[in-house]
């Protein structure tokens, strides 16, 4: 269920996501090398906009975060988040913020969980433009906020956080896959991968060199439900890699339908569903 405070919260986040996106589009906020002070300044700004002056505690006992030491492919940096608490209806991660300080659009995604399903891990892939802190901030249902962060070195040489083949991306746009374990029983924690074929691209500003404008085209929200109850929702942005992938876990206690609904910045909606515990239909 969405509470009133949750709604307000979502709105604020969306606003920040939008602002940072607009800055990317029209400003020249492509900062590659930032001094320590600038970096801290950036995080301070993001933090204030997301959480005001609420205290953020060290999250070491609450969440684990695995990132590569160096981004190998700037366009696809796999990250993995682990819940160190056993989640139940009385104690669960309500929201999970994924922040990449030095990306043009630093708030990569915000996940919301209803607390009905235990989960142990969540992974996705992000773009990393520059040397940066990558943070995961968990808001627990009791109102406490915890953070962990890792430093990620940018990738070398010719690796850019851009689309590799825009024509191919356009050709398959909107395809969705749900990959589930080959065999499972009711009640098992299912490790599930959601894959969405989408360029998730920032577009390009009109500029002096190119005289060219490529409209933005990225996924704004993802909702996963099981028998119409939310498993998680995510507000996302251009820092999530092309063809977004989300590995998540949940335990279906009954047979039913796992559904995905994806909305993008151009107003399109994409749907997909599978029957559980059966395998994906062709």
């Amino acid at each position: 269920m969405t509470t009133v405070s949750n709604l307000k919260h979502n709105k604020v986040v969306r606003k920040i996501v939008q602002i940072s996106y607009l800055t990317f589009l029209f400003g020249s906020l492509m900062i590659t090398t930032l001094s320590a002070a600038e970096t801290d300044g950036r995080w301070h700004e993001i933090k204030t906009s997301l959480f005001g002056d609420r205290a953020i505690k060290d999250g070491e006992d609450v969440i684990g975060l695995e990132t590569p030491y160096r981004a190998l492919d700037a366009a696809v940096v796999p990250i993995s988040i682990e819940s160190k608490i056993t989640q139940n209806q009385n104690n669960y991660i309500k929201s999970l913020y994924l922040v990449i300080d030095n990306n043009p659009s630093p708030i990569a995604a915000v996940f919301h969980f209803p607390g009905k399903h235990n989960w142990q891990s969540l992974s996705t892939r992000v773009r990393v433009n520059a040397y940066t802190d990558l943070r995961v901030i968990a808001e627990i249902n009791d109102g406490n906020i915890y953070m962990v962060n890792n430093y990620v070195k940018a990738s070398g040489g010719c690796s850019a956080p851009s689309l590799k083949d825009p024509a191919a991306a356009a050709a398959h746009l909107g395809k969705i896959k749900l990959k589930l374990p080959k065999a499972s029983n009711l009640g098992d924690l299912l490790s599930t991968q959601l894959l969405i074929k989408h360029p998730n691209s920032s577009g390009l500003q009109f500029d002096q060199i190119s005289r060219q404008y490529i409209p933005a085209n990225f996924i704004r929200s993802i909702q996963v439900t099981f028998n119409d109850e939310v498993v998680f929702t995510a507000d996302s942005d251009i820092s999530i890699s092309e063809d977004p992938s989300i590995h998540f876990g949940f335990s279906p206690e009954e047979e039913g339908i796992l559904k995905v609904e994806v909305k993008d910045s151009t107003g399109r909606t994409f749907n997909h569903s599978v029957d559980l515990p059966n395998q994906e239909k062709g």
Binding site: M30, T32, T33, L72, D73, A74, A75, V76, P78, S80, S123, R125, N129, A130, A154, S155, G156, G157, C158, S159, A160, P161, S162, L163, K164, D165, P166, A167, A168, H172, K175, K177, K179, P181, K182, S191, Q193, L195, K197, L204, I209, S210, Q212, I214, S241, E242, D243, S245, H247
Partner: protein
Amino acid sequence: MIKHRLRGELNRWHSLRLRTLVVMLLLCLDTGILKAQPSEFMEIAPGIYLRPGIQQNFASHNRGHIANIGFIVGKQAVAVIDTGSSYQEGLTLRRAIREITALPIQYVILTHMHPDHTLGAAAFDQDAPVYIGHAQLKDALIRRQTHYLDRLKEVLGSTTEGTRLVLPSAGVEVGRAVRLELGDRILELQAYPTAHTNNDLSVYDRNSGTLWLSDLLFVERIPVVDGSLLGWLGVIDYLDQSEAKRVVPGHGPVVTEWKASLADQRRYLDALLSGIRGIVRQNGTIEQAIEQVGQEEKDNWLLFDEYHGRNVTASFVELEWE
């Protein structure tokens, strides 16, 4: 005159090494910047000059001179093939051309988007050439311009002043080769479907049977997948039909027994393909693939540790959609 010395040399070719004499141009005296690395241009076939790239990663100690760049001289005009990583490297190349000929530099061919091939192009603005590349090169460069220029500045600092992006003024479509006439010398430009990148172009010089493949072929240095693994394997099949006498790779020495080099590259890419497919089939992750796939190729390639994980990552996200 260097020119005359070169001509004399041309008659005495036996091996690549002999052919390689050539223009130890001490071009760097006036700038001071490049003093540590006099640029060596070799005439690899009559009228085809190459400055071999250093087989290292892009770094300040090699000034980004890592790609093979060069030029082809006809009776009436010159065509440049790739321009190096910076305005300064482009100027070095231009000076090398002027040591050899005063003919107009009519074409600057950009074989693909990567910064070690494209970012020296501004050095030729004074010649008002046709900048030509794959039809998709322009879009690819625009998408990456800020990133490439930022990274260049980060690695090479202020010595790259003047470097800017030059967008191609002409494009070659896949399946529609373009001929450039240099005077008694025709170059055939061919664009490829997505392979090393989505904007790869080759240059074939009929007179000498030289096929300039640029980064469609890596020799000794590990290939970089920045387009499509499956696409590249398809292009390799196609290239294998070619009867070119010699091939200029984007990195590594010019090869006459080039089919063996092409086969080496295929073997590596095939290892990626079969290894990653196996892991995708078991719902495995990118991290597992990075650890497990293609490790047997480690000793076969320079810079394996720097690029292999990246290749696995890029190929994984392609293959999980098969």
